[in-house]
């Protein structure tokens, strides 16, 4: 059973989260994610769920921490400056092995920045979402449909590996309307049981503890090592990417989220001009889809990473390409969205460089 409706990305995320069995949403107002919270406020009471407007982003993520410890699928959403505030709680969730979903509808930064779309929280999401040795699974949708679909995976992955998961969207995806097919709703009662939760032991088992404090260095090391074994498993099994004309491409573009849509247009235009361009679109930013990029190393001659920032994911692309080919970057920042023509211009430049290098041989 599915139905096709016209929805904003933010609303699709909210509706799908409820359908994925989430009944607890804790948020704080911030542009450009406001529709998500407003949708939750309207919808949650109708499905027996909880919408709670927290006093701060910090309180909101700690309410997610509590609700998750109590066994529920819980989530919070925000935009860049608010997500910085959630860093503390996300680190504690990692340290306490608590699942949960955090939405970041990115806007320009740093500081208060702007309210136009951006991808400048890539580093934060994939490198430093809070203190300590830990990782966050990060999904990057590129369409409203994908926003609706990935939230199911986000909750499943969070529960499976007992880890916080982020959906890294941006103001463009959050605000745009597209037709979306909503998936069948899951009842929270039908979700797999969890044996580690703190919801009262009913005098039937020893007490459960949700905690991230380990004062003995060796104990903390052991736990971190165990958690990184889980991360390794995630890296091996959860990498996701979509490729578009990349198999025979000389120039492989790498772009995620809204930017990938612009790059797709640019790739088509380049092909029309006889330039063999292709696109790899990471759907998971961590784990980074290394395998998809590595698969193109034998055929590609150059890579171009396009982002709405000053160059962040390009680091990960360079780590995979590892000097085998040149990796170029094109980006706009501060809320400016690159155009297909700008990207095409950059593709032409790279194509010209490749041609002249060929001529030199």
């Amino acid at each position: 059973m599915s139905e096709k409706v016209l929805m904003k990305g933010n609303e699709a995320l909210a509706e799908s989260a409820i359908r994925a069995g989430c009944r607890f949403f804790f948020g704080y107002p911030i542009t450009p994610q406001t529709e998500l919270a407003a949708y939750m406020a309207k919808r949650m009471p109708k499905v027996g769920g909880t919408y709670l407007q927290a006093e701060s982003e910090i309180a909101a993520i700690n309410m997610v921490y509590g609700a998750s410890a109590a066994g529920a699928r819980a989530m919070t959403s925000s935009s860049s400056p608010g997500v910085s505030l959630k860093g503390e709680g996300i680190s504690y969730m990692s340290g306490s092995d608590l699942p949960g979903v955090i939405i970041n509808v990115q806007r320009g930064g740093p500081g208060l920045g702007g309210i136009q779309p951006s991808q400048s929280d890539y580093w934060q999401a994939t490198r430093a979402m809070g203190h300590g040795d830990h990782r966050l699974v990060v999904f990057a949708p590129a369409t409203v449909q994908e926003m609706a679909d990935l939230i199911y995976d986000a909750f499943d992955v969070a529960d499976k590996y007992r880890t916080p998961v982020m959906i890294l969207a941006d103001g463009m995806l959050g605000q745009m309307m597209e037709p979306v097919e909503l998936r069948e709703a899951i009842s929270p009662e039908d979700l797999p049981a969890k044996d580690w939760t703190t919801e009262g032991h009913k005098n039937k088992r020893p007490h459960n503890i949700v905690n991230s404090l380990y004062l003995t260095a060796e104990d903390l090391e052991d736990l971190n090592v165990e958690r990184y074994q889980r991360y390794k498993q995630i890296e091996e099994t959860e990498q996701r990417a979509e490729t578009f004309l990349a198999e025979d491409a000389d120039i492989v573009l790498v772009a995620f989220g809204a930017t990938s849509r612009i790059c797709r247009s640019a790739v088509r235009a380049a092909r029309d001009e006889g330039i063999k361009a292709g696109l790899i679109r990471p759907i998971t930013l961590w784990p980074f889809p290394e395998e998809a990029i590595r698969a193109t190393l034998p055929t590609a001659k150059a890579y171009l990473t396009v982002e709405m920032n000053m160059g962040q994911m390009v680091d990960d692309v360079r780590l995979v390409v590892n000097g085998a080919h040149p990796v170029d970057f094109y980006g706009r920042t501060g809320g400016v969205i690159p155009t297909p023509d700008e990207v095409l211009g950059k593709i032409r430049e790279i194509a010209a460089d490749l041609d002249s290098a060929k001529g030199d041989e």
Binding site: T50, G66, A67, G200
Partner: protein
Amino acid sequence: MADQKEEKVVFQRPHSLLPVVTNYCPGCTHGIVNRLVAEVIDELGIEGDTVGIAPVGCSVMAYNFFGCDMIEAAHGRAPAVATGVKRVHPENIVFAYQGDGDLASIGMAETVHAATRGENITVIFINNAIYGMTGGQMAPTSLPNQVTQTSPYGRDVETAGYPIRVCELLSTLDGVAYLERVTVDSPKNVRKAKKAIKKAFETQRDGLGYSLVEVVATCPTNWGMTPQQAFAWMRENMLPYYPLGVYKDVVADGFANAAEAASARSAECPIAHPSEGGEA
């Protein structure tokens, strides 16, 4: 065997207090209050339904001491974590156990907002006017002129401001059902403290609203005193600044719960009473 007497247990460890060694210093009042909370949990028969939230501070490891399910929260965030648990399982009894730095400094926003939302949780607040775990720094409740590691010349109210009186502050909030300030410096006061803690848990059990018990406590280690000297200093200096007593009790005030008291207080506000006097 006529001389063998029948054994009668007159005193034992509460079931919900686990047989583990605590990390509290000798003479610290945390141990007394931990025990009182456990006795109340036992007497109300709620261990299996209770979830406790431990803070950051001297009682950080309280998750190891209580037999009920326990959660360790980030510094100051216990009321937000408690809110999350309580919203998922309203039938659970959820308590947060917090010190003065945790509750009244870094966690003041969480404290005030959980109280004003009328979260049906219980907070046990230990006020010993100092940061104990980190070695004796000035707390939000340190007294004027009190010497600490970070107020070495005494707390100067000109630059460091005044102590926060938590019960007085929270008593203005409509979501609050019950607030009492107690101490544990004598058997009589220990009994009164237990009565208050029990009443706070009962307030939650009966769904009346937010409840908090502030325990004026000591820190012999960081105050640099013997336990007896610390109690004397506390009686002499803290109790005049933090008077003991009930600061809010909506039931004693003649209301069924915090919501009814709030409704009466705002009787003159039309939007707060949409059904009264208007059309259906």
